[in-house]
């Protein structure tokens, strides 16, 4: 069996996706039998030159994780596309922009000023900010420039397959290995644009019991709950769980641990915008029993308990949401 040439490139990432691959434990040996690494700078000694030196399309499968945040990320993504037959967007950042894309929110002030000068935890009396080029003793040092927005990989290059998750969980990576095995043996690949994860929502595979009618009084944080029912659905207990709108595939990793789903696998195929669907679902469940006695102000007060709707419902998917397209230049009045 001919080994598959694999390249794993990275952009704006925490490298958690690399760690997730190593988390395969003994299964990783199967990976080494199956593939020949052509590029994986996080785990082995590779430089970008090694990837550039390869012939076009020499890499069979190119995996990219992380968002597109700097000009360097754009460069790496374009090289990877040029050298690979298929490109896989791996992890929530490459799929939807992920947490880095939350910085695309419109701020009153410049992001650099905010991060390097005004954040309360920042001590920067000399106002040092990163520059794209600086001269020290006639030697010019350069850094990649930062882009205006952090975007998903698909915005820059053509992507063939998607593996969401933050990071993609072991069962998902095992699915990817199965795909690679079929590819190595028969040369067959799934249809282009396939998402290698579940097709239903998380509720379908979450083991918690769901009551027939879900209604809850207010939103609370998991640490505020006095006594949590370990088997009951989290929503009737008042904990925000994005399960009803999120793609299955993680086997309920968070909900098993009494933590509400945060939506890292993104929406299912049929949904355009993850957060809007979740807003629609979650607000229908609030105080269903007593709503008829409530006034507008009282209803408004319950909704107010979500201090940051954008951060809550778009934690991972803001970069690829409809609401991001609304992005306005208007001043909030």
């Amino acid at each position: 069996m001919k080994k598959i040439n694999l390249a794993i490139a990275l952009g704006a990432t925490c490298a958690g996706c690399d760690v997730a691959i190593l988390d395969l434990n003994e299964k990783i040996l199967e990976v080494f039998d199956l593939v020949e690494f052509k590029f994986w700078p996080t785990a082995m000694d590779f430089k970008l030159d090694d990837l550039e030196k390869l012939k076009d399309k020499e890499v069979d499968v190119g995996i990219y994780h992380g968002a597109i945040r700097t000009t360097e990320d754009v460069k790496i993504a374009k090289i990877l596309r040029q050298k690979s037959k298929v490109v896989v967007a791996f992890g929530a950042c490459a799929n939807f922009g992920g947490i880095p894309s939350l910085a695309n929110m419109p701020y009153e002030q410049n992001m650099f000023d905010l991060v390097y000068k005004d954040v309360p935890s920042m001590d920067n009396p000399e106002n040092t900010v990163p520059l794209t080029s600086v001269k020290i003793d006639d030697v010019e040092l350069t850094l990649p420039g930062i882009l205006e927005n952090a975007d998903a990989l698909e915005e820059i290059i053509d992507v063939d397959y998607f593996v969401p998750g933050c990071p993609p969980m072991v069962p998902l990576i095992e699915q990817v290995i199965e795909v690679l095995k079929v590819f190595a043996k028969k040369g067959e690949l799934p249809p282009k644009g396939a998402v290698i994860a579940g097709t239903k929502t998380l509720c379908d595979e979450c083991g918690r019991t769901k009551p027939e009618k879900i209604s809850f009084k207010e939103f609370i944080s998991p640490q505020e709950v006095e006594e949590m029912d370990p088997d009951l659905c989290l929503l009737p207990q008042g904990i925000i769980c994005l399960g009803p709108a999120t793609r299955a595939g993680c086997d309920g990793l968070c909900t098993k641990m009494n933590v509400g789903c945060r939506g890292c696998l993104g929406p299912t195929d049929k949904v355009k915008d993850h957060g809007l669907k979740m807003i629609s679902a979650i607000t229908s469940l609030l105080e269903v029993d007593e709503e008829e006695e409530m006034t507008e102000e009282q209803l408004d007060k319950i909704v107010e308990k979500i201090p940051d709707p954008l951060g809550t419902f778009y934690r991972f998917t803001y970069g690829k949401s409809l609401i991001y397209k609304l992005h306005s230049e208007e001043k909030v009045i």
Binding site: Y107, S280, I282, E292, V303, E329, I333
Partner: protein, 149 residues
């Protein structure tokens, strides 16, 4: 990233997508018509069975397709034909309006109000008010700077 807004010109002819529920607000709009009340022609009425049918996605897509404002109307609390539909609408849209604020959409562009079948004059007043408010703002969506598609 911060973007300095440059107001070039105001919107003399704003588009307002108006959602009406079939049982109260729709009848209210009819009454405004049969009573020969004047209201602006900038509103594009869309009738749905219940205001709770309106998904937040409909509102966002309306903005993306070129609406300068979205007005949602329904029955007064306690009057809903389906008993509790408008309570759900209110919570849903109240959370959506907070989200829209976060992405920088002017709150004047998105309103929710209750109009009963007998309130033809209120219908005329609210639509006029909304259009007048939007005339004081620059164009939005496809016509203006905000919104991409």
């Amino acid at each position: 990233m911060s973007k300095t807004s440059q107001v070039t010109e105001l919107n003399s002819n704003p588009n307002v997508v108006l959602f009406l529920c079939r049982w109260c607000s729709g009848k209210g709009a009819d009454l405004a018509g049969t009573s020969r009340l004047h209201y602006p022609t900038n509103v594009l009425p869309i009738m749905v069975n219940c205001s709770s049918r309106i998904d937040p996605q409909h509102v966002v897509e309306a903005f993306l397709e070129g609406a300068d404002g979205v007005l949602i109307t329904g029955c007064h609390f306690g009057d809903c034909h389906y008993k509790t539909g408008n309570y759900k609408t209110f919570r849903r849209m109240s959370l959506l309006s907070r989200l829209l604020k976060q992405v920088g959409v002017n709150p004047k562009r998105f309103r929710i109000t209750w109009i009963s079948a007998t309130e033809g004059s209120k219908f005329a007043k609210i639509t006029t008010e909304m259009v007048e408010d939007l005339k004081k703002l620059p164009p939005y969506g496809k016509n203006g700077k905000g919104g991409e598609s």
